[in-house]
Amino acid sequence: MYQDVILDHYKNPHGRGLRDGDAEVHHVNPTCGDEITLRVRLDGDTIEDVSYEGQGCSISQASASVLNELLVGKELAEARRIQETFLELMQSKGKSEPDDAMEEVLEDAIAFAGVSKYPARVKCALLSWMAWKDATAQALGETAGGKTA
């Protein structure tokens, strides 16, 4: 489960820290106490930044770092595809080997395949991704409504 990629991200997280954003959310995993505060900044359809701070296990921390690395700079549609693919991988219960197409979409995040075998840890891996989805929806709602954060 602890692939080197995951440990690397845990020890040297990408983009950690809170910076300006269009929306901020705070998510908690009540069963283990993992927490994340996450902000999204959009520039039109492009994700300009995902910044975050939190406490939790290596899986939830590394997952947030991988998210930052993967999503920043991407178009929203592309980012959503990545998010959905990651969700699919995490819900696979370790049953299916990820295929090449998946690997291409997920890059480093493919390292989390092993986590999907551990139901108790899947929530950790998904914490930041759910927070990102939520924050993005908020940011878009505000953009649409023309409101400031």
């Binding site: 069963t31 139901p119 108790a120 840890r121």
Partner: protein, 418 residues
């Protein structure tokens, strides 16, 4: 050997049940006809129990070690199996309790603590029937004492069926809950669900069905029943003791308050206040009956492998045969329907003025296990003016030869006390 159309291959099935080889009283082969009280357990269920304890035993949920993951997967897998067995729309609608009695008490208590529109209070009425098991009477009596709600009930006809002639007067606009037994554990009667549910729905009352004597013997489809809650118990359906089920409609389980408080049923706890986990865990306080749930899952697998419809057919054929043969016994009076139509494989009777205790005891000396007494349904005995009955009840492993043994046994009882 008597051959009846629709019988299962009991020779094969009986090999699965170790206890059926039991010899009692120095040489009498056991004839177990007390299945309405509890069923026997197949090897397949006992093996699963042993495997659980010998390999995977751990407390469930939140563990990160192998055993905890395995135990959780087995426990939650049992929930999937039970959900499929009763055709539940969602696995989250299946709550594990310790028995059907707890399931029924759970509903009664939730409705007492609930907010409107569910709350049962002094302005509301609760409807049950005169043929309920005590476990579906006393919880409602307690609720009515505690809240001031009025308890009403359907009476019985001479031939052991619900008297629904005054249904409009009994289930009224004030009725908030109607709770009734699907198959009576004393009369064997199968009740007309649809008529009752329709009237309950007309007045907006919740419907609770006690399926304790149905789940072991027939296909149970909670969606087809259109009930709001369905309760049953593991030990009567080849499962272990110590496990029961409450199925409830998801939106109700979301809206209704918890019953028991403790570990597992919470979302977050501080000394000042707590929030609760979503159903089903909201209603499962404390370490659940883990091995027993897993065992019930194995029982469900076992019953499904035989086929619930096949079991129903088997029991119907046997009941038809048994009713016919019993009515040949002089002075025997069946309490309940005297045909096999709309009835389950449970037959209560009296034998002249020989007391059921004596009937049961002399049958026991011949190795025949029946139950005697009021069968936790004393109002039925009061209704028919008898102190008690003798009850023979069959299951998937019962045979025509066992019916014959019972009839012979009863002849012996008559001679003995004649």
């Amino acid at each position: 050997m008597t051959q009846l159309p629709g019988l299962l291959d009991t020779e094969a099935i009986r090999k699965d049940f170790p206890v059926l080889d039991r010899v009692v009283h120095d040489g009498q082969r056991l004839v177990y006809l007390d299945n309405a009280a509890t069923s026997q357990k197949p090897r397949q269920v006992l093996d699963v129990l042993n495997d659980y304890y010998e390999r995977s035993n751990a407390n469930v949920h939140r563990g990160v070690h192998v055993l905890a993951e395995e135990a959780t997967a087995l426990y939650e897998g049992a929930r999937d199996k039970v959900a499929a067995f009763v055709n539940a729309p969602s696995r989250d609608e299946v709550i594990f309790t310790k028995n059907a009695s707890e399931s029924l008490n759970l509903v009664a208590n939730m409705l007492g603590w609930a907010d409107e529109p569910y709350r049962v209070d002094q302005d509301t009425e609760i409807v049950i029937t005169e043929m309920e098991h005590h476990s579906n009477i006393v919880p409602w009596q307690l609720l009515s004492q505690r809240t001031g709600a009025k308890l009403k009930w359907f009476g019985l006809t001479e031939d052991g069926r619900l008297d629904l002639s005054e249904i409009e007067q009994i289930i009224t606009e004030k009725t908030k809950v109607v709770s009734f037994v699907l198959v009576s554990n004393i009369l064997g009667t199968v009740n007309p669900v649809e008529a009752i549910v329709r009237r309950a729905q007309d007045v907006g009352a919740l419907v609770v069905i006690d399926a304790s004597q149905a789940a072991p013997h027939m296909t149970l489809d909670v969606q087809a029943l259109q009930a709001d809650f369905v309760a049953f118990t593991g030990h009567k359906m080849c499962g272990p003791t110590g496990i029961g089920v409450l199925w409830g409609r998801q939106e109700l389980l979301e809206d209704l308050p918890p019953f028991l408080g403790g570990g597992e049923m919470i979302e977050t706890v501080s000394m000042h206040s707590s929030t609760y986990a979503p159903a089903p865990h909201k209603f499962e306080a404390g370490t659940p009956p883990i091995a027993q749930a897993v065992g019930l899952g194995a029982a469900v697998d076992y019953l499904t492998s035989i086929g619930m419809d096949n079991i129903t057919r088997h029991e119907h054929a046997l009941t038809h045969y048994a009713v016919g043969r019993l009515l040949e016994v002089p002075d025997l009076r069946i309490i309940g329907p005297t045909t096999a139509e709309e009835r389950g494989a449970t037959i209560s009777f009296t034998l002249g003025d020989i007391h059921p205790h004596d009937v049961g005891q002399v049958l026991d000396e011949q190795g025949i296990a029946v139950r005697v007494g009021h069968h936790c349904a004393r109002p039925v005995c009061l209704r028919y003016g008898i102190p008690a009955t003798t009850r023979a009840s069959f299951y998937l492993y019962s045979t025509p030869a066992e019916v014959d043994a019972l009839v012979e046994g009863l002849e012996h009882v008559r001679n003995f006390f004649g």
